[in-house]
Amino acid sequence: MKRKVLQKTEEIFTRFLMVFSTSIIVSALLLIIVSILYKGLPSLSWEMITQIPKGGYYFGKEGGILNAIVGSLYLATGSTILGLIISLPLALYINIHKAKNSKLVNFIRFLLDILWGIPSIVYGAFGFTVMIYFGMRTSLLAGIITVTLFIIPIMVRSMDEVMKTVPKGLLESALSLGSTRSETAYKVVFRQSIPGIVTAVLLAFGRGIGDAAAVLFTAGYTDYIPNALNQPAATLPLAIFFQLSSPIPEVQNRAYAAAVVLTIIILIISVSSRIVSNKFKQRRIK
């Protein structure tokens, strides 16, 4: 009898802990979003997102962070495209060409997981050494290449997860009708896994826009909007970081406003990836 009571109290207690933990996680997200909006919205203005910094901007004078917004978008778009050019073929390769060699495929998956785990600052440091080696200066191109390196594992692994689920029968029937392997890859498997590919692209884009450590070394910082690949580019995370370390309150407030901009971009990406992947999912052959 006593044991029963003990068991019951233990169960109730742990269930309380579980609900408590889950609500901590939910409230952490709410706290983050609310506190960023609360601090940042008052200083967010139209001119902040449509102007580049003007003279004396970093002492609280006029201007905006358009340079960082555009720089981040360039950087993320460039590296997503470059990443897609490498990741998509690789994901198709391990799921179609090497599908029978499961040892090799598992090794590649393992390797990609390891690459995924390497912190972005290590990619940044590596990108920097390579950059110095080739005598390049900090530029948009160097930033794009570094970010590409660290979003490749993310893209390949998330595409791979979807391509794994493409029915074997579909692949075999395409091949038996006489299509080549690459035709099967791009006309059958690719179409089947579009939702996964879209999610992977958006995920990588979000990573590219939000990462600061890799671009710190390689993309540099500038007050102007870059109009060539060999010019340095400002990025939104770095704009937030630099402005927040300023002792002037107006500049700090702008950092909070920039944080709101970045948060909104990330939320848009997250929501749209959900919508897009749900929409495409309905058209899949099961």
């Binding site: 706290l31 390769y93 390497i118 912190p119 290590v122 690459s182 990462d211 927040l244 939320l267």
Partner: protein, 308 residues
Amino acid sequence: MNWKVLSIKSIRFFKVGRILKDKLHSSWMFVSFIIVLLLPFLLGIGLFLKSNLIIKEESLLQLLFSSQWHPMKGEFGFLPFIISSLWVTVLSILICGPICLFSAIHLTHYAKRGMLKIMHPVIDILAGIPSVIYGVWGIILIVPFISRLGASLGHPNSGYTILTGAIVLSVMIIPFILNILIEVINTVPQELEEASLSLGATKWETIKKVILKKSFPGIISAFGLGISRAFGETIAVLMVVGNVVKIPKGVFQPGYPLPSLIANNYGEMLSIPMYDSALMFAALILFVVVTAFNIGSRYLIIYSERRI
């Protein structure tokens, strides 16, 4: 006649075109495969070659276990940074470990469908928030909180402490660990659970003695992956941890983890001799530690899945 030859020719050409296309696609696939295959080795070799200079100059032991950090005088001891990194990482895992574990059990075994529908986007968004935003959040909310907490506990501080970094970090790695834990717990076969329940065990007993026991290696490896993620996190920690070169002696003291060291000093590293090599050595330490933890944890997951 002529027409027929032409059409056969065109068919042949078409066929060759298709094969050529296949060859082209396949070879590009192979090239991208090679790029990714070489990437981890290139990373390791590149960092090693760059940090080789300093390893030659001073012994490895001295670099790792000396606390004298005076780049101007050419003294590079990484101990304060290594200790700070360990403090922040271990604390953050201690904070978020239990939360993640309980929440993962909740979401896999107790939560209703509606709850999961809310939690999936919540985890996704938490995972997607850039680290600089976590840092801003830390400055807005956690720094004042820690400052007040420290003052009331008799440890007055600026709020920029090891504990602040650990709290921000623990929230950052929650989605990461939680996702793996949910996956790991879901791989335990349903039959085991049913067998235990049919023998008269309560639900919690089943979870404690069957499911957690069965997925124990997976849980450990989830924490291992979390540790490696926390160890390399840069900007968010850098913004709240204080960045003072000193071996921290308590959670209310500022620290200076390795990633912050690299990120903070990249600007002047080319102007002081050996400094760039020292920073690349820091990156190499990060690379080696993180990769070791990753390999260990992934291997444990694969091993335990095979056993089930």
